[in-house]
Structure formats: C-alpha cells, structure tokens
C-alpha cells in the first residue's frame, strides 16, 4: 500500500512538472473536490455497513475526546521542542505545529505574518500529511490502530480517512473522523492564538 501511494504521488509530480496540461491544472481544485467527495462517499458506505459502528461511539463516550486532545498536546509539545533547534521563536514554531496537518489554512493564515512562515507552515503540514500517508499502514501493523489517528492530525477526517479505514477497521475510522473534525475546528483558533502570543 505504501509503495502504491509513493509511486502514484511521484508519477503525479513528474506529470505535473513536465506535462501539466492546462485543462487539468485550471480545474485541479474541482477534480480534487470531486475525488474527495467520491472517496468520502465510499468511506461512508464502509462505515454505514458496519452495524456496530454507532454503538461503538456510545461505548467510548467522552473518552473519544481524549484522542484529539492528546494529539494537540503532543503536537504542541513536539513543536516547542523543535523550536530549540531552529531559528524560529517558540510561538512561531507552535503556530506552525498548530496547523495540525491542515496545510492550506495554516499556510494562508501564517503568510499574513511573513512569507517565510507561510512557506514553512505549508511544507511542515504537507509533510505531516505525506509522512502520515506513508507511515499509517506501517503504524497500524506494528504499533496499533488508534495511534494512526494521532499521526494523521486534522486530515484524519478527509484525505487520510480512507487510508486509515483501509489500514485499520471501521471502529478506528469513526474515531479518526471525530478526531479530525475536532482538530479541524481547533486549527483556525490555535494558529492565530499562537501568533498573538508571539
């Protein structure tokens, strides 16, 4: 699975770099939206088919909130430690980490402050998504299912949801979706908050 993913992205990059047909490039946002909707549709079928799924949510109860909470705390702690090694200030690093993998929003938000920060935010959060794409199947196999949700961050609800669904089970997919929704709600609050503290 990991090999397929890497290969497809690599071919895509080569295709975009050398060929880049104009019709495709101009409509790329629409194609991505369409593909995403189609994907979520099939993930929905998957979740809906499993009759136990919604009972699982009830069984987890408030514990379900622990996953996004710990993910945010872990991410912020990690970003704070990273700032020691980098030229960035503590809160700049925290603001970049607060993107939680949602690269378009965090990059746009931070590029208001400086282009450099915006670019780092973009790259950091894109690489979070790419690293998650590559490592989720491995983490699911070697470490555990729930841990894949932590790696994914905010995209656990959309782009990475099919990857998590495929690598784990539908119970974890539901946890992943909830975690992703909560994290996505936190990103627009956390990023400006960190910059205001800077």
């Amino acid at each position: 699975m990991t090999l397929h993913i890497l290969l497809v992205i690599f071919i895509g990059i080569l295709f975009g770099y050398f060929l880049a047909p104009e019709i495709l490039v101009n409509n790329i946002e629409f194609i991505i939206d369409f593909g995403l909707c189609l994907l979520l549709f099939f993930v929905g079928i998957d979740i809906g088919r499993n009759g136990e799924t919604f009972n699982n949510i009830k069984k987890y109860g408030l514990k379900i909130l622990l996953i996004p909470l710990i993910t945010v705390l872990g991410t912020l702690f990690g970003s704070a430690i990273a700032s020691i090694f980098l030229k960035l200030s503590l809160f700049e690093s925290l603001a970049i980490g607060s993107g939680l993998g949602w690269y378009s929003l965090s990059a746009i938000e931070l590029s208001k402050h400086s282009a450099e920060l915006g670019t780092i935010a973009f790259l950091a959060n894109v690489s979070r998504e790419v690293i998650a794409l590559v490592t989720i199947p491995i983490i699911a196999k070697k470490i555990g299912y729930i841990q894949t949700v932590a790696v994914a961050g905010a995209p656990a609800m959309d782009t990475l949801l099919p990857v998590i669904t495929r690598a784990t089970n539908s119970s974890t997919a539901i946890l992943s979706f909830f975690s992703g929704v909560i994290l996505s709600m936190l990103v627009p609050i956390l990023v400006p908050l960190m910059m205001s503290l800077n």
Partner: protein, 152 residues
Amino acid sequence: MAIITVLLVVDVQIIYSQTINSKTEISWEKGEILISATTEIPDDDANLTAVRLKLSEYVDRQLTDVVLKSFYDINFDSLYSLSEAFTIQYICLLFLLFVMGIKIGTNKEVLLSFHQLGLSALVITIFSIIFSLIGIHFISKIFNSTQEREDK
C-alpha cells in the same frame, strides 16, 4: 455540509439495496406493497434466507433492525467481500493522490523552496508526530480494552 448530508442519504439507500440485494422483488398484494429479498451465500448452498415485509413496515423500522435481525444467520463477511466498494475506494484514493502530486509538480515555487525551508518544516513535523504518537500510545490501552470487550 450539504454535500455530506446528500451523500449520507445516498449511502443509506445503497446499503439498503446492497444488503437486500439483486434478488429483491417488489410485489403488490391486497393493496400493500411487499418487498421480498432472498440472499444466498456462495460457499454454503444450504444457507438461504428470505425475508418478506410490507413496505410500510420496511420504511417504519430502522435500517439496522430490518437488516441485522432479518438476516441474523447470514455471514456478513462473505457479503462484504463480494462488494466492490472497497476496491473502488482504493482506486479513488490513488487517483486523488495522483492529482495531489500533479498539484505539487505544477507549483514550481513549492518544489524549489523545499530545499531552503524544508528542513525546519521537517523538524517541526517529525517532533509533532513523535510526541502525539507517544501521547496516544499511552492512552491507547483505554480504547483497546473497549474494543476487546466488544469482541468478547
């Protein structure tokens, strides 16, 4: 949000039509619409289950009630593996990643800036991932025990 709602509705319809699958018959008896569904499991030819419901009952009852209770003795795994949804899902995913790759490939500024700022970005990401992974690893026991209890 509207799109997701629409998709959820269509999802439910597909689950209906897949579970009460191709051998579904709709008939008209004594002024009532009847829905009869027969399902066969390929590797167990003795296992043949049929359900007959009035349309009004069919709509009244919840999806899970109708499906799970009526087909109680059917092995759902074999139905599941017959479905194409999983494969289509995977193809969609690969297609989406291909388009994402094209998007990165066409944005030459991003490709060039990877060298300059990529390292700081990577450091932040790797630390973020490692610490959230460690955090979740500590609490994962709570969730695993819930899942195990269900399995029992």
